[in-house]
Symmetry: C2
Subunit: 195 residues, 2 copies
Amino acid sequence: MAALFEASIQVLQAVGYRNFTTTRVAERAGVSIGTLYQYFPNRQALITSVIERYLDERISTIEQHCRELRAKTLDEIANGFVDAVIAAKWARIEVARALHEPLADVGGAELVRAAAARTAGAVAEVLHSCSDASFREEDRLALLIVISCSSVLQTAITEQSPPLDRETLRAHLRAMICGYLRQMRAGNSQGEPVR
Amino acid sequence: MAALFEASIQVLQAVGYRNFTTTRVAERAGVSIGTLYQYFPNRQALITSVIERYLDERISTIEQHCRELRAKTLDEIANGFVDAVIAAKWARIEVARALHEPLADVGGAELVRAAAARTAGAVAEVLHSCSDASFREEDRLALLIVISCSSVLQTAITEQSPPLDRETLRAHLRAMICGYLRQMRAGNSQGEPVR
DNA sequence: ACCTGAACACCGTTCAAGT
DNA sequence: ACCTGAACACCGTTCAAGT
């Protein structure tokens, strides 16, 4: 029921995860507590569904942006991917912040793994199409890039650090991913992943 | 009381944060529930203290390793710092995994910020002493490096992804930090943080 | 079929009573 | 001074009874 999803996010933003109770969600959604339990087997399933919906939306927009990076240069791909991740995160930044706490509680590791794997698929494809460089172990490389960008942003966002504003993060992530890809491109003798 | 710290970690590892109850901790520590509340004002303060102790220990060993990197080259510093973070994390990896869930719940953002800031201080000093490169905005650069390494490792560890074992992470983080520093060193026209 | 809400089990926290 | 544990308020979840 869409009303329960809406109510969940509202309750989460209003009182935080520590006070996120099924009673409050049901009340906010205008249904009885019994009705909530007809749609979700327990509190955890409810919050998991909310997170899944949010992640799916976010990844979809990143995938779209990735398609536009096909056959571009190393620098364009690195910068373009960083921009895509930042845009997707900031599009609903308040929700991203609110969902951080429950994510670790709920079976978050599994959700994050699935989200990272899916995004990495899109990135691996783009890396393969790169016009001015080629890479070994594109899948693993893509996964590390995805995890790096998303976990750094998540940490920076929840820390609320004023010195790390959006444009600072963009500039540094661009340099980081760009520098990383240059180190890892085939033919570079520096920083081989295995010796 | 040391027994309560010990008991907390044991309970956390045995039943997870979802079932981490003050009753269980008191029972495991061999004291009554009332006694627990003489030492800690509430459940949150207890778990926060446990996390603070762990973080302090971990950061101290990283700071030690950093001291040995003074006046070394860019590559040595990048590799040495990555190795130090990985060693510190793996020294008590089961505890690191167990503390991930409560960290997000408790005032984790603040703890993480403080830990990152302290570690970044040590890194900034080492960057300043680098023998073959100099950097602008060392403090900010150091903070980004610290956040990147620790958040990537935390994510990789809690995801339990088999493809991302310790040595893979080491090789990739080395390439990432090394590539990042090269992009950001003074005199490099590529990837300027501000245009 | 779908909804309701009293009832149950359990947890965080307190505080009057013990030593 | 320090410890105890029954008692209270509150939350997740169930299910017999309603519509």
